[in-house]
């Protein structure tokens, strides 16, 4: 059964939609800034669903007033890692929340081979499942 016919990684917000344009990303950033979130840019080439810690591209950007600053960092990141997954993450520093409130992918590699499912038989009729990205067979930096 194919659960993801387009072979696209679906993590975070908007991931079932067509890729956001820069203008749309800009609007999302503006929304976050209005809510007082701090944006940061993260990238990875190991997009396993359990790999929640992606590499940070620069520091989180606190005290910004306008989306242009985040877009500047995003452009830099796209230039440096054109074939990586890049996401924007919004952090809400309100006391008691202090966690990520928004996260969406803004850059994808040209081809996304997806994940392979391995089944391992255990005692009795137990089945254990492992999800392996096909791309991680190759070393870091050469995956996509």
């Amino acid at each position: 059964m194919m659960t993801n016919p387009t072979g696209r990684l679906t993590q975070g917000q908007f991931s079932f939609l067509p890729d956001l344009t820069d203008a749309e990303i800009n609007l999302q950033i503006e929304y976050g800034l209005r809510r007082g979130y701090a944006w940061s840019v993260e990238y990875t080439d190991d997009p396993h669903p359990r790999n929640t810690f992606w590499e940070m591209f620069g520091m989180p950007m606190f005290d910004l007033r306008d989306a242009a600053g985040v877009m500047l960092e995003l452009r830099n990141c796209r230039q440096t890692f054109p074939h990586h997954y890049i996401r924007l993450v919004a952090f809400d520093s309100t006391r008691g929340i202090e966690s990520i409130t928004m996260s969406f992918i803004v850059n994808r590699p040209p081809s996304e081979p997806g994940f392979g499912l391995q089944r391992q038989e255990g005692p009795g009729r137990t089945l254990r499942y492992t999800l392996t990205p096909y791309a991680t067979a190759r070393p870091e930096g050469e995956r996509y």
Partner: protein, 321 residues
């Protein structure tokens, strides 16, 4: 690549996004303003200009230049409404003048004016000095400068005493790096932020001479003239009014004399010196009233500065009064 070719059941198939964007391309809008008055009414810039005229004493050349800039921006807006080419003018400025001539105050107003006219999106002012831009060690400066620039985007970046950025005596100074990043952003992201450099006239001139790239990227060089004694007197009246004080009998004349003496002394900082002088007068007034324990003090006593409060100043020390 990338876009899913399926649609969510019950919804229309996703429209190619590029189409949606081209819809928003600038077209002469039907209801757009056609007269200067309409743009002014829309942006309320008139109110800011009036406020500038009312609140700031003197500074005629500066006010004139701000009016010119505002006029250009209004006309550009009209051109844009008719679909004519109106490229974003370079709005980077340099404010030169002696201390206390109102550079920071005008910069704040500038942010407001540009915001009302829609040339900066947020209209906030980020005021920095060399310390905020230049780092301590190799590789520290670029991220630091970038962070400040990112904070200032959508508003105005005000660099006070900008000439400190460039230290000719130390060729390995990191200030040069900050200047290069600044120049790059000033050129490439002209519609994202406006940079205002401020500093003393002579030092800024040397700064621009040694950084011709900086000078040529700044379209508006505004020189803030020193205030005359009468203007300073007017400023003092404004300051006192704001703080609910007033000069008592003869005190205004004494303050005029004070200014005439003070202006000739070293380290005279225009409006800032006036403010300091008034602050000291308030101190003396307070201790004068404090000394009279039993006296009942009315509003008049508490708000009046008497000649005694001013004459006690060091400036009058050499005269017998």
């Amino acid at each position: 690549m990338g876009a899913p070719d399926y649609s969510i059941p019950g919804s229309v198939a996703p429209r190619p996004v590029s189409e949606a964007v081209s819809d928003a391309a600038p077209q002469p809008a039907a209801g757009a303003a056609r007269t200067v008055a309409a743009v002014l009414a829309e942006s309320q810039v008139e109110a800011v200009l009036d406020e500038l005229e009312r609140d700031l004493v003197g500074l005629a050349p500066v006010k004139q230049r701000i009016r010119d800039i505002a006029a250009l921006l209004v006309i550009d807006k009209l051109r844009m409404n008719l679909g004519l080419q109106a490229e974003t003018p370079s709005l980077h400025m340099s404010f030169t003048g002696n201390p206390g001539t109102g550079k920071t105050t005008v910069a704040l107003r500038m942010a407001e004016i540009l915001h009302r006219l829609g040339y900066v999106r947020k209209g906030h002012l980020v005021a920095v000095t060399r310390d905020d831009l230049v780092g301590q060690y190799i590789g520290h400066t670029a991220p630091k400068t970038r962070e400040v620039l990112k904070k200032a985007m959508g508003g105005v970046l005000f660099i006070d005493e900008a000439y400190y950025l460039y230290r000719p005596e130390n060729e390995r100074d990191y200030g040069q790096e900050a200047i290069e990043i600044l120049l790059q952003v000033m050129e490439n992201q002209r519609d994202d932020l406006v940079v205002i450099l401020a500093g003393y006239k002579d030092r800024m001139d040397t700064f621009f001479k040694s950084n011709p790239g900086m000078s040529s990227r700044i379209a508006h060089h505004l020189d803030f003239p020193d205030y005359s004694v009468d203007e300073l007197q007017q400023i003092a009246q404004c300051m006192l009014q704001q703080r609910h004080y007033h000069f008592g009998a003869d005190a205004a004349a004494v303050f005029h004399q004070y200014l005439e003496r003070r202006i000739r002394q070293p380290h005279f900082a225009n409006a800032r010196s006036v403010r300091n002088a008034l602050d000291r007068a308030r101190l003396r007034q307070a201790s004068r009233l404090f000394a009279e324990r039993e006296r009942e003090l009315g509003q008049d006593d508490l708000t009046t500065l008497l000649p005694v409060d001013l004459l006690a100043s060091r400036v009058f020390a050499d005269t017998q009064l």
